[in-house]
Amino acid sequence: MTKRRMFLRMITASLLRRRSRMMIALLSIGIGATILAGLVTIYVDVPRQMGAQFRSYGANMLLLPKEGAALNRDQLAGVLETIPQDELIGATPYRYVRLDMTSRQQSFTAAGTDFSQVPKTSPYFSIEGAYPENTREVLVGKNIADNIGVKTGSTMELTYQPTDSGEQASPEESRTPNAELAGSAEGFGGGTVYVTVKLDGQAAIASLEIDAGTQTPEYGGRAAEDDNFLKQFIGKTLPLALGEDVDALSGATVTSEAVVQAVNTARKTEKAARPQTLNFTVTGILTTGGEEEDYVFLSLDDMKTLTGSEQLDVVELSVSASAEQLEAYAAAISDEHDTVQARLVKRVTRSEASVLEKLTALVFLVTLVVLLLTMICVSTTMMAVVSERRREIGLRKALGASDGSIRAEFLGEGLFLGLLGGILGGILGFVFAQVVSVNVFGSSITFQPLLLPITMIISMLIAALSCLLPIKRAVAIDPAIVLKGE
């Protein structure tokens, strides 16, 4: 008991009385530990942080409908569950159609999209003006704007002209799972009845909307609202027969016939819709240096109003993950869903992987070199501090202290300094890493709880090791020579 107390007192006394020297030793271990903790934290976090920066190249994964299948917004949420939320930076749906600007007899490619997602997947879009926030607003590519002379605030009238509506529906079309179909047929008194049909995953009718505005309200016009009439269609597969699958609405046989015919001949929406014209306000002009400058961008809601369909051509995803992980997600999505396939944008993923790999290697090597040199610096300082005490060691030996007890004391001192410096450095290092992360990447860094004990252990090891060598030399020398000086 007393022996241990003596040991502790000797260590604390030496630390307290030789404050300036011990401060030097502590400072040097502290610096070493700070650099160790700071750099390792940065190194661990760099791939994630840099990866996020690389997302400025735009989408790295595309979701496409599988051949013969359709993709719509409702399915999207389910598909996106495959990718962890914190890795998914943005998911922008696109639907491309040709729209006519009748006043100028020109036609453009128009992209319906979700403007809240566009800046996330395409941060390189440079806009003069602003993104559209409401419906009936468009973003116009620079080439088009220059060509037809529109500016922010101008209005333009765009028309959707369905193509080849005279064709008959093909049997495949009415059996496409999740498809949206639209059809029309002549009803009572020569007025047209329009229907919109949505199919479910088994190609059975999931919902039916009827526009019978041209029919007599008291008779045929009821078809649109009569729940009992509408219910008969749900869950059935096309084609339907009046009288077998569906009973006619009483007093409106002609209209009922027209509805069934319209449903049976319904085609994919984009081929069957009616011409639609909407008036838009230009909110911004888009510059990208790419083909997007030849497009007009509008909201999906407007796109639905124009084409009558909610289908999507492609969804651009920006995912902050490594190339292997991306491949795994893509494979999982394509396997799990019957209608959706995921493809990687090779140009982006491949280049990102190679550049990121180099950057990580760079930070790794730099970290390694800095750590190595810092540790050597720390141990030389420790050695200098300890070897200064040769006289003390000699005196102790002369008084009868055993080599072992001297070694134990110095080691204890070294370990104590290492512990203190390690804790100090672990905390300062994290602060440094945080400063770097906030300044460089504008986001905070995650604390690695394991790093604190590791820093402490390494600091203690280095402190102890760098004490050992000078002590060994001091202990080996005859006390008389040491005490005499030189």
């Binding site: 300036s20 020297r21 030097i24 400072l27 040097s28 610096i31 700070t34 650099i35 700071g38 940065i42 760099v46 840099m50 920066q53 690389f54 400025s56 190249y57 735009g58 040709r98 036609s107 395409s122 390189y124 440079s126 080439n143 088009i144 060509n147 990208t288 240096g289 790419g290 030849d294 493809r343 944008v345 090779k346 140009r347 491949r350 280049s351 190679s354 550049v355 180099k358 950057l359 290697a361 760079l362 930070v363 090597l365 730099v366 070199v369 800095v370 040199l373 810092t374 050597i376 610096c377 030389t380 300082t381 050695m383 200098a384 200064e388 440094f432 770097v436 300044n439 460089v440 990447f441």
Partner: protein
């Protein structure tokens, strides 16, 4: 006498002085290595980012908006404006010629396939050898600019091969649909000619190109009777990230003041390079591909800032390490300094002796450390980027100044402390 004392210390206290020299050398090498890496990293990372492809696209001024805006079918030869192939070499004569890494022309058309279907066919350079008026020569083309393409079968088209103009490479999707394999001979028919060509390879680009055929520019020019004409040029250039001036200039260079104009013109902003390209290529509009140019700027800035902060940390670390050791070693010599004082040495001369010793040691340490640091920089350059890092002449004076400052700053307080001690106490063994 001073000389003898210093020599005495240097030789008799070899061990301690060596330790100081070693620490200084390590600190100096760290500083040298890191500064060199930080100064060279922008260029290296910039080169790596060229993987993403061209950041500038050059098109004829009156180019084919027509086909996009009036919904005319592809293949209708509306595209009446072209750039001239013989002017391409001029790209390497602009002010920022050195920053132009690679470029390649494109000319596309529609061809009729043996089964009667049609496909897009693009003529380009692959590894086109170019002798410049300046006496330099380079190989430019899509082999370098489409680094993400995989050749899944066969090989890249080699323009140095004599038969190159009778060969094509085909996109993977198209080849799969048509049942083509490397080595097959197919008959292609275009607007102004037809030819039997050999499929040299099949490529997987992971994009629209997978539906196309790529051939030499000469072949496509011959098939479409558009001698010396190209439809667009893609340029890959090393650029400086845009700042406020560059953004203003990009809108209208003429609106700049003459001094701003000069600064802008003589900085490798993407807009300045575009402007200079327009000056040498007749009737052209060069525009930055923002997707690539913008992202490069962000990543370069971030990488550089990251490296600067790591360098700052390591510099502070090595500075504190050196000054610690110097302080420790001066304090250790309190007895000697006490003795000097006891025999009547003035404070100033003691300081002089001690400082001279330490500075000589520091000088030796710096020399060794500079060489070592050069080695570290090269190690990092070679293992990460596969090329050496240029030694910046600025680094040597910076590191030398830093070491001098750190050494003096580290030894002065210690000397002052020791000088304050009374000689009797020190010598007595306090």
């Amino acid at each position: 006498m001073l000389f003898r004392m210093i020599r005495g210390v240097l030789f008799h206290q070899k061990g301690k002085m060596l330790l100081i020299a070693l620490t200084i050398a390590l600190g100096a090498s760290l500083a040298t290595g890191m500064l060199n890496v930080v100064l060279g990293v922008e260029e290296k990372v910039n080169k790596e980012l060229k993987n993403y492809g061209a950041n500038i696209v050059v098109k004829p001024k009156d180019s084919s908006l027509l086909s996009d805006i009036y919904d005319v079918g592809e293949g209708a030869e509306l595209n009446t404006a072209y750039l001239r192939e013989d002017e391409l070499g001029k790209l390497k004569t602009i002010f920022w010629a050195f920053n132009i890494v690679d470029f390649t022309p494109f000319l596309d058309t529609q061809v009729t396939l043996p089964d009667g279907g049609t496909a897009g066919m693009t003529g380009s350079w692959f590894n086109h050898h170019l002798d410049l008026p300046t006496g330099e020569s380079l190989d430019a083309g899509i082999v370098g600019m489409r680094s993400w393409w995989d050749i899944t079968e066969g090989r890249w088209l080699d323009e140095k091969d004599e038969n190159a103009s009778g060969e094509v490479i085909a996109g993977a999707l198209l080849a799969q649909r048509q049942g083509w394999h490397a080595g097959d001979v197919i008959h292609l028919k275009a607007s102004h000619g037809e030819k039997d060509v050999t499929i040299a390879g099949i490529f997987d680009a992971g994009g629209d190109e997978d539906e196309q055929i790529y051939a030499t520019l000469d072949l496509v020019q011959a098939l479409t009777d558009r001698e010396n004409k190209v439809a667009s040029i893609e340029v890959s250039a090393l650029t400086t990230p845009d700042n406020e001036l560059a953004r203003r200039a990009a809108k209208n260079p003429a609106a700049l003041s003459s001094r701003d104009y000069e600064t802008w013109y003589c900085t490798a902003y993407v807009s300045a390079i575009c402007y200079q390209i327009q000056e040498v290529i007749t009737g052209s509009v060069a525009s930055a591909v923002r997707k690539v140019a913008e992202s490069e700027g962000t990543i370069l800035d971030k990488t550089k800032l990251l490296m600067i902060l790591i360098t700052a940390l390591s510099l502070v670390g090595s500075a504190l390490g050196i000054s610690n050791l110097v302080t420790a070693s001066v304090m250790e010599r309190s007895k000697e300094i006490g003795l000097l004082k006891a025999i009547g040495a003035k404070d100033r001369s003691i300081t002089g002796v001690v400082m001279t010793e330490i500075l000589i040691t520091a000088l030796l340490g710096f020399a060794a450390g500079y060489l070592l640091g050069f080695g570290f920089a090269q190690l990092i350059g070679q293992s990460v980027f596969g090329s050496s890092i240029d030694m910046d002449p600025k680094v040597a004076p910076i590191v030398a100044g830093l070491i001098a400052l750190v050494t003096i700053a580290g030894s002065l307080p210690a000397i002052r402390m020791v000088l304050r001690l009374r000689p009797a106490e020190v010598l007595h063994g306090g």
